[in-house]
């Protein structure tokens, strides 16, 4: 690498180039990622109203104290927790099963089935939520089908009116939208398992159940953990579906997830400080899970050799 040219050593030349190439991104992140998060910390210690002209008042940790005492915040936290748990557990398990099933089909079916399960993900979130609003309408398909299966004609299950049903409805939409996405991630994980393991197991006379239990599951475990954490983080960040539901008249309280609460506190009630404090809480929760994700994706894969 010692190489002399008129511009000095090549290493130096490359280093300057490197900085120039990285500079726009670095500058951008400083301004639109690091500064905002620091600003959020700072704003969370203020009592501030967007519209008022008075200078904001410094109140220390009072916003946090307020949050942890307010019922509204805890209800939001509960709504987020219920949504997250209700979403990521079925997502992580059902998509694994689907991936395993699809993987056992022949090649053309594999492609077709993956595309079919993935297709809801290409609808925009809001468009999907609008479609589901009609499905969950009292006269909609959801009632018709459930009544047909349960043989209870004419009963309205109040998908959007009862508090637990609204939660359930939002979970269904999310599940429907992301099931194909995670199936594809699992599928990629499954295709990385060497076929020879299955051949060896077959020679030894292992049933397909045993094969699944003692080859597939241990080897796909890192993917399971990864998918679970990704799904969890995504569920915690949900906003659009809940927003559209509340806008079209569904009960707000059961689906007032933290992101929606931040938006409503800041834009409707105009308590910027309080909303920032909530943002910081959300930031830390997601930070923990992102850190876990990073840890997990770095760990070595299990090997049978």
């Amino acid at each position: 690498m010692k190489y002399n040219s008129r511009r000095g050593s090549l290493g130096k030349y490359k280093a300057i180039g490197g900085w120039i190439f990285v500079a726009p991104a670095l500058f951008y992140f400083a301004l639109f990622s690091f500064y905002p998060i620091i600003n959020a910390f700072y704003t969370s210690t203020l009592q501030k109203d967007i519209l008022s002209l008075q200078p904001p008042k410094f109140i220390g940790l009072e916003n946090y104290v307020y949050l942890f005492r307010s019922e509204d915040f805890w209800k939001s936290a509960e709504a987020t927790a219920v949504f997250t748990l209700g979403c990521f557990i079925p997502l992580a398990t059902v998509s694994l099963l689907l991936a395993v099933f699809i993987y056992s089909r022949s090649k053309p079916f594999q492609n077709f089935l993956q595309m079919a399960y993935f297709s809801p993900a290409i609808l925009s979130t809001v468009a999907a939520a609008v479609v589901w609003l009609l499905v969950f309408d009292p006269r909609g398909l959801a009632n018709q089908w459930v009544n047909f299966i349960a043989n209870t004609p004419g009963i309205d299950h109040k998908w959007l009116a009862l508090s637990h049903m609204v939660r359930f409805s939002t979970v269904i939409i999310y599940f429907w939208k992301y099931i194909g996405y995670f199936t594809i991630i699992y599928f990629a994980g499954l295709s990385n398992i060497p076929r020879t393991y299955y051949e060896a197991a077959k020679v030894d006379g292992a049933s397909s159940w045993t094969q699944f239990w003692s080859i597939t599951l241990p080897l796909v475990k890192p993917t399971i953990v990864l998918v679970s954490i990704i799904a969890m983080i995504q569920c915690m960040r949900t906003f659009s579906t809940q927003y559209l539901f509340t806008e079209s008249g569904a009960a707000t309280e059961p689906i007032n997830v933290i992101t929606l609460n931040i938006y409503r506190t800041a834009m409707r009630d105009r308590y910027i400080g309080r909303a920032s404090a909530m943002s910081i809480v959300l930031f830390f929760i997601i930070l923990i899970f992102s850190w876990l994700q990073l840890k997990v994706s770095k760990t070595e894969k299990i090997s049978y050799i």
């Binding site: 280093a15 959020a40 290409i122 018709q144 990704i230 992102s290 994706s297």
Partner: protein
């Protein structure tokens, strides 16, 4: 290495597998039929809302909400699409909102791809002191969810007076750390010899990037581009914060508005949803390989 291989069109991976097919892992016969049953039924359930959207977008609203629902429309009611575009008030604002969505999503995609490729190249191929620190800093921003910084971003953008403008819609979304990560991972295996020989020939660093590195990173560029475009097409929360006038709104906001208007009929609402989804559907069918290819590596990104 593993990650880079996954970005390649899935077809390639499939071919390798096909050679092994038949000796691999199969279910026994009764189990096999059961699994077909489960797959077909769940696929039907997954596709039902999509079919509902397509079918009822050409139905008069009485038929959309009919009990029991009839899957075959008695007549094609194309007026729904006309009403979707015209709007309930006849303002044709949807067209403007569609253009806004196209413009904002394309601009964000362009800047994301370009700046990510640049930074990815710098981080992968041009060693400089502090490079690892820079990389870690950029990766750290991946842990900051947009929802947590949207309020400060809103304050910044209003301070600059950019609310309700294209620049306000575009700027805070211009790059994301994931894109840089993706480009770096892709470029790290690019042969140094090619770059060095170009350098000896006297090509400038930017020329090397533009004429040699970028054309060879097309799979990553396309995957990142599609991912970003789709994400921005879908974006509700930022336009919701930043726009006030109807002229500046994007498609998701129009759907919210159309949905809450009193005189909206359900058929037209489905037509609105169809129009909103159409560009991504077209993109999906023309570049499905890249869609899923990008997904498998994207893992950590919405």
């Amino acid at each position: 290495m593993n990650k880079i291989r996954m970005i390649q069109p899935t077809r390639k991976i499939g071919k390798k597998k096909q050679a092994y097919h038949g000796v691999g892992w199969r279910f026994s016969y009764p189990g096999n039929f059961l699994i077909w049953g489960i797959l077909v039924v769940t696929m039907g359930l997954v596709l039902t809302p999509l079919a509902f959207m397509v079918v009822s977008s050409v139905m008069p609203y009485r038929e959309v909400m009919r009990i029991p629902f009839r899957w075959i429309p008695t007549s094609f009611h194309w007026q729904n699409y006309w009403q979707a575009i015209r709007g309930n008030d006849g303002s044709f604002i949807y067209l403007r909102n569609i253009l806004n969505s196209f413009f904002v999503a394309s601009m964000v995609t362009l800047t994301t791809v370009f700046i990510s490729a640049m930074a990815g190249y710098g981080l992968a191929k041009l060693p400089f002191r502090g490079r690892n620190l820079v990389f870690i800093l950029i990766m750290a921003t991946m842990m900051v969810p947009f929802e947590a910084i949207m309020i400060p971003l809103y304050l910044i953008v209003t301070k600059f007076g950019w609310q309700d403008s294209y620049i306000g819609l575009i700027i805070p979304l211009m790059v994301n750390a994931f894109g840089i990560f993706l480009m770096r991972q892709f470029l790290i295996s690019f042969p140094d010899a090619v770059i060095d020989s170009a350098r000896i020939e006297g090509a400038s660093e930017f020329r090397i990037f533009w004429n040699i590195v970028l054309p060879n990173a097309i799979p990553a560029v396309v995957a990142l581009g599609i991912l970003t475009f789709r994400q921005q097409w879908d974006n509700l929360i930022w336009p919701l914060l930043i726009t006030q006038s109807e002229e500046m709104k994007t498609i998701p906001l129009y759907i919210v508005r159309f949905n809450s208007e009193k005189y909206t009929n359900e058929g037209a609402l489905m037509a609105v949803a169809m129009i909103a989804s159409l560009p991504i559907i077209i993109l999906f069918f023309s570049m499905a390989r890249y869609f899923t290819g990008g997904l498998t590596i994207s893992g950590m990104k919405d």
